[in-house]
């Protein structure tokens, strides 16, 4: 307890993770999300159509079910947009930060000397838009891995090189 006062001065002078400015994801990534949602709801609508034409008991509730699906679509769109807006990343001198969440704001921070390996992932849609996802793995299990989607391919490549360099240097 004695040296606690000593420490408070220290901690206030430390670099603050909460003041870091985050880079946003590429706008093209929002298009990818929209396409994914569209595919999902086309599938749901097909299923809905098949069921209502075959099951007579459901016929009187057709409108209600349709409205429910529409409402659901609206909610998914809203949450996806919030999630997209909130996602951001930052690379500091000694660590990488990733911000995400919908109703909560989560910030995941991995020091470079704890990174196990880095991977670059391209989905079919992402490749079409020239985007890539960076995956950063630690020894701390799935919850402490960072996946940053919606980064331009070239930039992602650069980031990967940067991280690899950092890891090598730490070793």
């Amino acid at each position: 307890m004695e040296n606690f006062t000593n420490e408070t001065i220290d901690t206030t002078q430390l670099p603050k993770f909460e003041e870091v400015v985050f880079s946003k994801l590429q706008p093209a990534y929002w298009k990818i999300i929209l396409i994914q949602i569209a595919i999902l709801f086309v599938l749901i609508s097909i299923g809905y159509g098949v069921i209502t034409t075959n099951a007579e008991e459901l016929a009187p509730f057709q409108l209600q079910i349709g409205l429910c699906i529409l409402g659901f679509l609206g909610l998914v769109l809203l949450f996806s947009r919030i999630g997209y807006n909130k996602k951001g990343f930052a690379f500091r001198q000694h660590d990488v930060l990733f911000r995400y969440g919908v109703i909560a704001t989560n910030t995941l921070i991995i020091p470079y000397n704890r990174i196990q390996h880095v991977a670059l992932h391209e989905g079919i849609l992402s490749r079409f838009f020239g985007l890539a996802k960076i995956e950063i793995f630690t020894a701390g299990g799935h919850a402490s891995d960072i996946e940053i989607p919606g980064i331009e391919k070239q930039q992602a490549e650069n980031i990967k090189q940067l991280l690899m360099g950092k890891i090598q240097k730490e070793l």
């Binding site: 220290d10 430390l14 909560a104 704001t105 995941l108 921070i109 020091p111 630690t138 701390g140 299990g141």
Partner: protein
């Protein structure tokens, strides 16, 4: 007598008995459901067939044991520096262990092995768990010789790295520095797993209520049906007795389980790491390496505190998810002194609790909402659509609300995060209060989290990820959390501290 071990040789011939019991145990466990059925139908069975069947089974086990014995050989290949074990009746398995890979050779003895007078020898390798060798029956003299042979070779490889005083240690028979007494195990067995037992009991209670209602019809709970005061008293009494009886059974089962699993728990110090061995029927041994330890958790409830026993759980760094279950090592029934000795070995000092963080009262409100209000709403919605549910459920609801309410209150009261320069301790639990200890240098990543309506209240959550699992603390003072996050990050990034 010096044995070279260069020729394939069998186990001690008395070892057939060990193999016999092992085989019988394995088969009986696999066939347990069939046996339970037999017991229930015992009266209908032809007694002669039954006896014949038992004899046939015993003969079969004997045959298998003998064949296992005949087909099990082991030897040292001096040219290739390998230890080789051949086993299997139909499917032959040949386990080859390179001597340089051997980390540990343990000589243990289970109850059966003690009765027969033989020992088991287990060879641990650095690699995976399945690639280890086990000899189930060997005389003590041979075991010691083989052990020194196996480790001798390791020293030849490692002698450049290890300093002189470390060399002598493997040859000595180490004396355990902690031995969990039988009494402690009994104390532990009688006081642990109450929550599990209680929920089982509640379940049983409701099943019985349901059953009674089905038998007696819908008006089981109508007052008209209970005019006879003596009769109702009898019902209450018998329910009470049944509950007591059940509680006793649960405690007894738990007691037997713990004694069998952790019988003669011994902890030995070996070159800076801890060697544990335990078990009545099947003796297990594991190693704890202090540098690999990620989370150390100490748990104790009210009764255990009075009796001075506690449970230690140690989580080591894991390579994959599958290993995770195995990696959590339990040491039940230590007293305070033994706990301090173990912690001293793991951390080189006794962990201290530093500054205390408390959760905001909203955590309690939210927990009550999730576990009481939501289920109640759900229950009454269901009840509305289903009016046949009797009013006896009000008693159930009342019991549930009181029980869960008390649990949540104590959970909230015990939920604390202690931050010290060298240790972070999270305290949690309602009845079994556990303290999870991590060192800041073991942190892999940090997640901070805040709901948007908590911004002005300045409360938020933090999760510390380590290679052995995570520690989370919710709804604490967010300024403090941010400040310490910055501090820990600074410490992690300043030095390349070793986390494994």
């Amino acid at each position: 007598m010096k044995t070279a071990f260069d020729q394939p040789q069998r186990q001690s011939s008395t070892g057939i008995l060990v193999l016999f019991f092992d085989t019988a145990y394995d088969y009986l466990r696999a066939l347990l459901p069939v046996f339970v059925l037999w017991v229930f139908k015992f009266n209908e069975l032809n007694k002669i067939y039954f006896v014949l069947g038992v004899i046939a089974f015993l003969a079969l086990f004997g045959m298998i044991a003998y064949l296992k014995y005949r087909n099990f050989t082991f030897y040292l290949d001096a040219d290739k520096d390998e230890f080789i074990i051949n086993e299997g009746i139909w499917n032959k398995t040949r386990t080859t262990i390179q001597l340089s890979k051997i980390q540990q050779v343990n000589i243990t003895q289970s109850l059966i092995q003690r009765a027969i007078g033989v020992y088991a020898l287990v060879v641990d390798t650095a690699a995976s768990n399945d690639k280890e060798g086990k000899i189930k029956a060997i005389s003590h003299e041979l075991a010691l010789q083989l052990k020194s042979k196996l480790l001798d070779n390791e020293k030849a490889v490692k002698s450049n790295i290890l300093d002189d005083n470390a060399k002598e240690i493997p040859l000595q028979e180490n004396h355990p520095f902690i031995k969990i007494s039988f009494l402690s195990l009994i104390k532990m067995g009688m006081t642990s797993n109450y929550v599990k037992s209680f929920s089982l009991l509640l379940l049983f209670f409701f099943t019985i209520l349901d059953y009674a209602e089905k038998i007696m019809g819908d008006n089981f709970w109508d007052d008209k049906n209970l005019p006879n005061f003596e009769a109702s008293e009898f019902v209450i009494q018998s329910i009470f007795i049944v509950i007591l009886f059940l509680f006793g059974v649960v405690i007894l089962i738990n007691l037997v389980r713990i004694v069998i699993k952790y019988f003669e728990y011994k902890i030995t110090r070996q070159q800076g790491s801890l060697l544990l061995s335990f078990g009545l029927l099947d003796r297990k041994s594991t190693i704890i390496k202090p540098e690999k330890v990620q989370i150390t958790s100490i748990s104790q409830n009210f009764f255990q505190k009075k009796m001075d026993v506690l449970q230690l759980k140690i989580k080591q760094a894991t390579q994959n998810e599958k290993e995770e279950q195995k990696a959590a090592i339990e040491i039940p029934g230590c007293n305070r002194k033994e706990k301090d000795a173990i912690l001293n070995l793991l951390f080189q000092k006794i962990p201290q609790k530093g500054i205390m963080l408390k959760p905001n009262f909203r955590k309690l409100v939210f927990a009550v909402f999730l576990t009481i209000i939501l289920p109640l709403i759900g229950f009454y919605v269901v009840k509305n659509f289903n009016p046949t549910l009797g009013k006896e459920y009000h008693y159930g609801v009342l019991i549930y609300v009181i029980f869960v309410g008390v649990v949540q209150y104590f959970k909230f009261k015990n939920n604390r995060l202690f931050i010290h320069d060298d240790f972070i301790i999270k305290q949690s639990g309602a009845w079994d209060v556990s303290n999870e200890i991590i060192e800041p240098s073991k942190i892999q990543a940090i997640t901070t989290s805040q709901l948007f309506w908590h911004k002005n209240l300045n409360i938020g959550s933090i999760t510390l990820h380590t290679a052995g699992g995570s520690i989370a603390f919710q709804l604490g003072n967010f300024n403090m959390i941010k400040q310490y996050t910055n501090l820990w990050l600074y410490e992690l990034e300043q030095s390349d501290s070793n986390w494994m």
